[in-house]
Amino acid sequence: MGSETRSGRPKALGLISGGLDSTLAARILTEQGIEVEGVHFSTGFCKVDHRRALGRPEDLERPARVRNEALRAGADLAVPVDVVDVAEEYLREVVLRPRHGYGSAMNPCIDCRIFMLRKAGELARERGAEIVFTGEVVGQRPMSQHHAALALIEEESGLRGSLLRPLSAAHLPPTEAEKAGRIDRSRLGAAHGRARRVQLELARRFGIEEFPTPSGGCCFLADRNFAARLRDLLAHREPRSIAREDLVLLKVGRHFRLAHDLKAIFGRDEVESRLLRREARGRSVCQVVDGRGSLGLVEGEPGPREMRELAALAVRYSSHRAAAEVPVRIGREGQEQRLSASAVREERIRELRIGWA
């Protein structure tokens, strides 16, 4: 990697999530006069991004619930943070083929770190940064941040000797830049484990008052319902055809598989139905005619029997679920057909529903 910047200062590129740890890691380095840039990889599986996409009024009124924390951290630190969209590449290279396996659902935590660090390494080379850094803390996360995992991740991401974890550096072998004295190892951190005492102390010292609470569980891939829907999609669609927009739809509503090439998604409330309408883009939708029910987005071309089943689902998720012969509208905008149905039976729902805990 390049070792000199135009300013003559060492330069480091960090994975910035906007959480306290990565923010502190960046601050520890800028305090030493190191030139810092950040990158945030957007995978399409972030729960906060989904909350942002739904745009519930109560969330939009509170910027802290919808803002992109990586950009917020970049703004507060006055370092440029780049957001990079890796959704489709990430799905194919990491989610579908994890070399180190999944966690509790479809979360490939170790492969995910390797992927992001390898990408960060490429970006660092392009930008003349000699160090890639993260906010990782030794022993903080059981799967991806114990000693052996950190070493494996460093090796497989091709960053041996150039990957710095400023918060925990005292517990890890020195990087080349530390050995050469371009980074002062004595001013790096010694945080360890799940207790956040060291981080909170550093936050006080740096005057960092505003940071999101550590949430964990912020990735849809660790959610079993979501994982079931993703597995279903992969069983019925060519992975290459799956785009970022398909991932948006996997996070919303109740999902039903009616045939290999036919699926329906019904919103669970008005906000979800609005998102489904927005995402319809030429696809069929179905809903009870008076609008007092969930909107269903139909992926595929239903035949007559499937139209009746879709209508029965629309009645089930409406205010008329106890009524018979409820009028339902199905089809693409401007080409809707009308038919009448009663609510689908509960046992049939269990057969059709995907990812129902």
Binding site: D49, R52, A53, A75, V79, V83
Partner: protein, 81 residues
Amino acid sequence: MTVARVDTRGLYCPVPVLRTRDRLRGLSPGAILEVVADDPVVLTDMPLFCRSHGHEYLGHDRGPAGELCLRIRKGGGARGE
């Protein structure tokens, strides 16, 4: 001065910010970029993006169909690259 424009309607954040960054790369310092969007979250993300990258966020108004039109002045420093 002609105003450059990027249309991000139909895209969810952070994608509108990524399109904005790409479009700004082709402009000179001081140039104005208008970003059209329909995801309201862009109003939270864009000022943060501008502060992070050294651009000036000039505010927004609504277009005839209710779409958001944000205006940005490209910064001159190295952070904007």
